[in-house]
Amino acid sequence: MDMFFQQLVNGLTVGSLYALIALGYTMVYGILKIINFAHGDILMIGTFIGLVLVTKFHLAFVPALLVAMLITAIMGILVERIAYRPVRTADKLIALLSALGVSIFLVNFAQLVWGTATHPFPANIGGDPIILGEVHIGILQIWALGVSLLLMAGLHLFVNHTQMGVAMRATSYNVDYARLMGINVDNIISVTFAIGSGLAAAAGILIGVYYDAVYPVMGYSAGLKAFTAAVLGGIGSIPGAMLGGLLLGVLENEGAAYLSAGYKDAIAFALLIIILLIKPTGLMGRNEQQKV
């Protein structure tokens, strides 16, 4: 039973990070109906920015996190302006290709600037783990869980209780109607990309610190998992992304502990396929009936 709870803690930690990243996918999808394949790589760049702020500019962890989030948010807006806005009216697959182009560009940019090696992330926020019975809860785990829950709560308040948030939900519900209501859809899309990218930077930095590893292709696996989490929860749904992330984190850790560590990721994907077959729009997705 101790193993179960230990894996629950581990699962919730990575799950909360998946959720943070999944939010970026789901928010963009909710409005533009495109899968932002460059999201994982935006996360990677954000992580490197955080690393540079800590190692070269000697910022403390929290200010570095905040500044990196801000810079990455601006980068997210730029990516949308340059690569997505011109193809917004084209086929969805075209936007996907554009996103892939951005993804390849960012990975290779990072490799040119920072090399292909893995960098440690010296954040100096470690400490002795808290021990409850047999279950160890690391300080880094508390950081990861705490920061992501705080950010998610902030997003929840923003989306549900501010005018901008209402406009965002309206746009996600129906872009054309939102525009008729006088909402500046372009601005909303920019804000969406900014928030998604900022959250991704935070998640990336926490991942970098948690595993003490930052490298140019780190966005690939993190992005893939988070995307899975977003679909699991029902892509387009913000609470769905949070639920999907946490659920995926817990399930894959428990699965790895009780079944096979090597097949950890395979378990995650198998679960995803099974859940989608049972509930084709994800756990909390809107069920859209095809009508004639």
């Binding site: 084209a90 554009s98 892939l100 893939l224 679909v231 090597g262 395979a266 994907f269 198998a270």
Partner: protein, 343 residues
């Protein structure tokens, strides 16, 4: 008049095709540089892969981002058959196509309930699961170390020693794929695939068994990808899970989309362009992939329909075609007119 125009066009196309074929046949005699031949062989593989994915994602409209899994399964089946069971290449190649086709059937089944992005994510999951099984099933696949020493193919007493026979083999395979795909998409079955991609509900309403269409296209597509994988295994003589990743699936999808969805020349052009560009950019050394990524964004912005799109074919034309072929028992189908995409 229309017939005459079509005839001239066909004739011109045929001449162009024959000239192209002749050039392709004599290339190895003129080019002695092994590297160029190698690039051409990889282009041939890309052509088979993009054509096979085009059937599913282009014609049938089922977005698949796990195509590399079929390629990988084909490669491993050929490798294992030849290494462990000493099966000859001539048997192993079709066998890997058939085994892969079975996996195509498996991946086709979820289309019963899923479509669009949700189906895409299932194909992604499938691709990752296959890769992870190849990576972890040590006893059979040797995990990340891969399977080295796959023997060269033998045709009777002739053993493939240089790159030239491989070139001709991949040329034959690619041509067979082109011919097969042409026959498929120009048949009544092919038209029903297009109907499924345009409007599944309408297709069903005119009596097309949409599920069978979707599953069949996955099976056929997987077969060809599996054969390509089998060729890859004997050509490189080494297989490892690294060669069949998500990025490889995405590359193939890119070829299909950039070339132009639901278009055979498009898929070929897409494969050739995307296969060549990274090679042509080699002089840029470490900036190569950086430029490649930026170039992709630029191409997409300026050419959002792909190089050779067949998208202009409207649903009306397809329905008319179906009626003309007595697919619909002469019952006229009144198209619903253009439905706006954003609704």
């Amino acid at each position: 008049m229309e017939h005459l125009a079509r005839f001239t066009l066909n004739w011109r196309n045929k001449t162009a095709t024959l000239v192209l074929l002749a050039i392709l046949l004599v290339i190895p005699l003129l080019v002695s540089n092994e590297y160029y031949i190698h690039v051409l062989i990889t282009l041939g593989l890309f052509v088979i892969l993009s054509l096979s994915l085009n059937l599913v994602s282009g014609y049938t409209g089922q977005l698949s981002i796990g195509h590399a899994a079929f390629y990988g399964i084909g490669a491993y089946v050929t490798a294992l058959l030849m290494l462990k069971l000493n099966v000859s290449f001539l048997l192993a190649l079709p066998a890997s196509g058939l085994v892969t086709a079975f996996f195509g059937l498996l991946l086709g089944l979820p289309t019963m309930r899923l479509a669009g992005d949700y189906l895409a994510i299932v194909t992604l999951g499938f691709g990752e699961i296959v890769r992870l099984v190849l990576l972890n099933w040590d006893k059979v696949t040797r995990g990340p170390m891969g399977l080295p020493g796959i023997p060269a193919p033998e045709l009777g007493t002739y053993i493939f020693m240089s790159k030239t026979p491989f070139y001709y083999l991949v040329l034959v395979l690619a041509l067979l794929t082109v011919l097969a795909m042409r026959r498929i998409v120009n048949s009544g079955f092919g038209l029903s695939l297009i109907a499924v991609s345009q409007d599944e509900l309408a297709a069903e309403a005119v009596g097309i068994n949409t599920l069978r269409c979707k599953i069949s296209s996955f099976i056929i597509s997987a077969f060809f990808a599996g054969v390509a994988g089998g060729f890859y295994a004997v050509y490189i003589s080494f297989v490892s899970p690294d060669s069949f990743t998500f990025m490889d699936s995405i590359m193939v999808l890119e070829m299909v989309v950039l070339g132009g969805l639901a278009s055979i020349p498009g898929s070929i052009i897409g494969a050739v362009v995307l296969g060549l560009v990274p090679e042509l950019l080699r002089f840029m050394a470490e900036y190569r992939m950086l430029i490649f990524g930026a170039l992709m964004v630029v191409i997409v912005i300026f050419k959002p329909d792909g190089f050779w799109s067949a998208r202009k074919r409207t649903r009306n034309a397809i329905m008319k075609d179906l009626v003309a072929r007595n697919m619909l028992d002469g019952k006229t189908v009144k198209p619903r007119g253009e439905v706006s995409e954003s609704a």
